[in-house]
């Protein structure tokens, strides 16, 4: 990494303050990003990262402080003036149009900006070709963006930003949906942009990536800058401490698994759209990690076990009893609990209370003799789980929308656990969860396994797999190509298997 930072920062924020209805989201925040610098903005959810991004994008107007772009003070920044001055924010949702082609997605800004009435398709194509050439990537211009894999969508979003003469690109959690190899490709691209003098503000809470990519760090906590400096001064421990305000030890799976116990979950010869004859057992107390590149089969396996994916052959058995059908109901009846990856879209009723969410899957057990729901039992069950899992909330009547990512994930977990499952399938259990909360969720999972549950974790977060699992299965083209356990289970070994799988 050879940072070519110039002396004068491209973007300079000084003593920015922003409050929403009396709540201070940002307090005295200063941040400089220079041309050719990869600056990492780190912080847990709720630390003020998103507010700061929106200040930079011109969406929020700060109450206090000043902004300068390219050395010139900016009196008031609007979304349009931010773009004009070369600031491009690529949000997590990428703001692409899935129903339009790659070419049109790339050229759409220039169409609108030049206040044109008619579309000249030859120009659209030329613009798009030019954009992809600049990134040195090739994507079929006539494909619909909705049909592209997420990594290519991201390339389109970045190419579009560059077309707008971006001098600062803010990437908001860009790696959330990417696998290891795709993340590496993204970093290579980001470094290439850096070489060309583009300033990059990288917003993330994934530790490993930050350390891999950044030249400088700024860590936010509770709306304030707690640490800032060149990357060389930081390591994982210091970053974690800065982000969470407390030290977190690296733990490893330490539960004992009785190898002679009959398997809780038995998977035999599972074959489907991706899977090709996958067989393995999970014993009580075991936590088995499933990983691989996007679409290698680990996700489909979880979906099969949970009864979400219904096509394919093979046998799934819980405590020796094969599931009678491949449906969500059959899986639930057999004692398989599933926690989806996208809890916001698939797991939670955001506007309902914590209690309603926690009880949603076990209502049958909460009825009175007349088959009516017992309010008292509903409250006591919700209370118990909320307490056991340590959900931090004002009351169990609070809507789930108000909770942080980690606490929302605990509510989903509470709901699944309330059904008293024997097998727990967790798909990306800590995606979008802060470092501190992550550690607590891992501890909870270990505790549950110790109680005799068989746990499957689908994840591409390598430290998570290493810390939590008793063994990890690596998928490739629908088969299990490697199994790492005990001493062989290290981050480097996993990384090696994943790269080999490419």
């Amino acid at each position: 990494m050879t940072p070519r930072s110039s002396d004068r920062p491209f973007l300079s924020l000084t003593a920015i303050g922003k409050s929403f209805g009396g709540v201070r989201a940002l307090d005295d925040v200063s941040l400089d990003v220079s041309a050719g610098e990869i600056h990492c903005l780190a912080g847990e959810n709720g630390s003020g990262k998103s507010t700061l991004i929106k200040v930079i994008a011109g969406v929020h107007r700060p109450d206090r402080g000043s902004i300068a772009i390219a050395g010139q003070p900016v009196a008031s920044l609007t979304p349009i003036s931010a773009v004009r001055q070369g600031v491009q924010v690529i949000y997590q949702d990428l703001s692409l149009f899935p129903n339009l082609t790659v070419a049109e997605n790339l050229a759409i800004n220039s169409l609108v900006e030049h206040r044109r009435t008619l579309v000249r398709w030859r120009d659209v194509r030329r613009t798009a070709e030019h954009a992809l050439e600049r990134l040195r990537v090739s994507i079929d211009l006539d494909r619909l963006v909705g049909d592209l894999p997420i990594a290519e969508k991201q390339l389109v979003a970045i190419a579009r930003a560059l077309l707008q003469d971006a001098r600062l690109i803010v990437l908001d959690e860009p790696t959330t949906a990417l696998t290891g190899v795709e993340v590496d490709a993204l970093f290579a691209l980001v470094r290439d942009l850096q070489q060309r003098g583009v300033a990059i503000l990288f917003v993330t809470h994934k530790m490993r990536e930050m350390l891999q990519a950044a030249d400088r760090f700024t860590v936010l906590r509770n709306g304030r800058v707690v640490e800032s400096g060149p990357a060389a001064e930081f390591d994982e421990a210091r970053l974690t401490h800065a982000m969470t305000g407390r030290a977190i030890g690296e733990t490893r799976f330490d539960g004992r698994v009785d190898a002679s116990a009959p398997p809780r979950l038995r998977i035999r010869d599972l074959t489907g759209p991706i899977l090709r004859g996958v067989t393995f057992d999970v014993r009580p107390g075991e936590i088995v990690g499933l990983t691989g590149l996007l679409g290698a089969g680990q996700g489909e396996l979880a979906a099969r076990v949970a009864g979400l994916e219904t096509s394919g052959t093979g046998e799934i058995a819980v405590d020796g009893a094969p599931l009678p059908a491949c449906t969500v109901r059959a899986a639930a009846r057999a004692g398989i609990g599933y926690v989806p990856e996208d809890r916001l879209r698939e797991g939670l009723f955001l506007d309902r209370s914590i209690a309603d969410n926690a009880n949603a899957s076990s209502l049958r057990a909460l009825t009175t003799g007349l088959r009516l729901l017992s309010t008292r039992r509903m409250r006591s069950q919700a209370d118990r789980w909320i307490h056991d899992l340590g959900v931090k909330a004002p009351s169990i009547d609070a809507p789930v929308r108000q909770l942080s990512g980690g606490n929302q994930q605990r509510v989903v977990l509470a709901r699944v656990l309330a059904t008293r499952p024997k097998v727990l399938v967790l798909n990306g259990p800590t995606v979008g969860v802060d470092v501190g909360a992550k550690e607590e969720i891992h501890a909870t999972i270990r505790q549950l396994a110790a109680g005799g549950l068989a746990v499957l974790i689908v994840s591409d977060d390598l430290p998570e797999l290493v810390q939590s699992c008793s063994r990890v299965l690596v998928f490739r083209h629908g088969r299990v190509t490697a199994e790492l356990g005990a001493a062989a289970l290290t981050g480097d070994a996993l990384q090696e298997q994943l790269s080999a799988a490419h």
Binding site: L96, F97, P98, N99, L100, V112, T117, V119, E309
Partner: protein, 334 residues
């Protein structure tokens, strides 16, 4: 060239074309009268009002909206214009009447757009409400009587044919001139959707309103455009409809919205927005018209028509829903 053909006829359009051809063959086998020139011209005539409305609705659907007030708007344009032309004889020129009815439709469409855009109300509820207001107000303030003595210029219009032929059996077949309006609207909207920024904006808004705003599309203009166009086309259809059935009934066209929605949806327009083509919509119209006309030809009572339309809407939307669901299941499985 092949890519252009592919663009014009996507996979959905090819399937639709196949189904339409197959249906025609079956009906022709059951009743050879289906293949007559007269029947062909009749079907084309019936397709004019349905077709123009379907193209209007297509644009609304692409932008992620819905409009069910257009039958009411068409009736309002038709009835007010005819009443006016009977009272004020000097207005009785076809271009003037078409312009008045279209302008009434445009105004009502823009009113929908204003409610939908500025108050951020759901389009379904807004247009359900305006439809009721328009129909009620029409009966209260304009009249309840069916006008059978239409203005002479409309009668003349209904007798104007593009092409006439006397058949061997002595009967005559004629192709109505109003087909030109249909063709004109179809071509103009197809070009607008493909070659204007506002047309592309409709697709963008239909896919992701927030992203479209972020890119800088003028969403207000797009909303005014799509609902205004729908209203204007409904107004135009009002006069054409009157000329076809030779009267103007303020209670007319009730329930037409479902047929139009069916034609658009079967033509591949997505009810959730962002998807749809004029080619698809035209094929959807063709299928609806052939199906409707042929029920009579094969001797099925016309109440089957309603059953079919309902089924078409349910089946096509289910297919779309299943497709998105399997796409999402694919995402989960990854």
């Amino acid at each position: 060239m092949t890519s252009r053909v592919r663009r014009l006829f996507g996979r959905h359009e090819m399937v639709l074309l196949g189904v339409t051809v197959l249906l025609s063959i079956v009906i022709g086998a059951l009743n050879p009268a289906f293949y007559s020139l007269q029947n062909a011209f009749d079907l084309l005539k019936t397709s004019v009002p349905l077709g123009i409305l379907t193209i209007g609705l297509l644009v609304v659907l692409i932008s992620g909206g819905i409009d069910i007030s257009f039958p009411a708007i068409a009736v309002a344009g038709m009835y007010i214009t005819c009443t006016l032309a009977i009272d004020v004889r000097s207005l009785d020129h076809l271009p003037a009447l078409l312009a008045i009815s279209t302008a009434i439709g445009l105004a009502l469409g823009l009113f929908n757009a204003v409610l939908i855009h500025f108050f951020r109300l759901p389009a379904l509820i807004v247009t359900l409400g305006t439809a009721s207001v328009i129909r009620g107000a029409l009966l209260e303030f304009v009249g309840t009587r069916t006008i059978t003595n239409l203005p002479p210029s409309i009668i003349a219009f209904s007798r104007t044919n593009l092409f006439e032929a006397t058949l061997a059996n002595g009967a005559s077949a004629a192709l109505t001139v109003s087909i030109l309006f249909f063709a004109g609207v179809a071509i103009a909207v197809a070009l607008a959707l493909r070659y204007t920024v506002i047309g592309r904006g409709a697709y963008a808004v239909g896919a992701d309103l927030a992203a479209a705003e972020r890119v800088g599309f003028n969403v207000r203009r797009i909303h005014l455009f799509v609902y205004g166009l729908m209203g204007a086309l409904a107004g135009l259809v009002g006069i054409i409809h009157a000329s076809i059935i030779r009267n103007a009934n303020p209670l007319d066209l009730d329930g037409l919205e479902l047929t139009v929605i069916a034609a658009a949806v079967i033509g591949g327009a997505s009810i959730t927005g962002g998807r749809g083509t004029v080619t698809g919509a035209l094929l959807g119209v063709a299928l609806m018209v052939i199906m409707d006309g042929s029920l009579v030809l094969v001797g099925l009572p016309s109440q089957w028509h309603q059953v079919f339309i309902g089924l078409v809407v349910l089946v096509s939307t289910s297919i779309t829903a299943l497709r998105t669901r399997s796409a999402r299941a694919g995402e989960i499985a990854r």
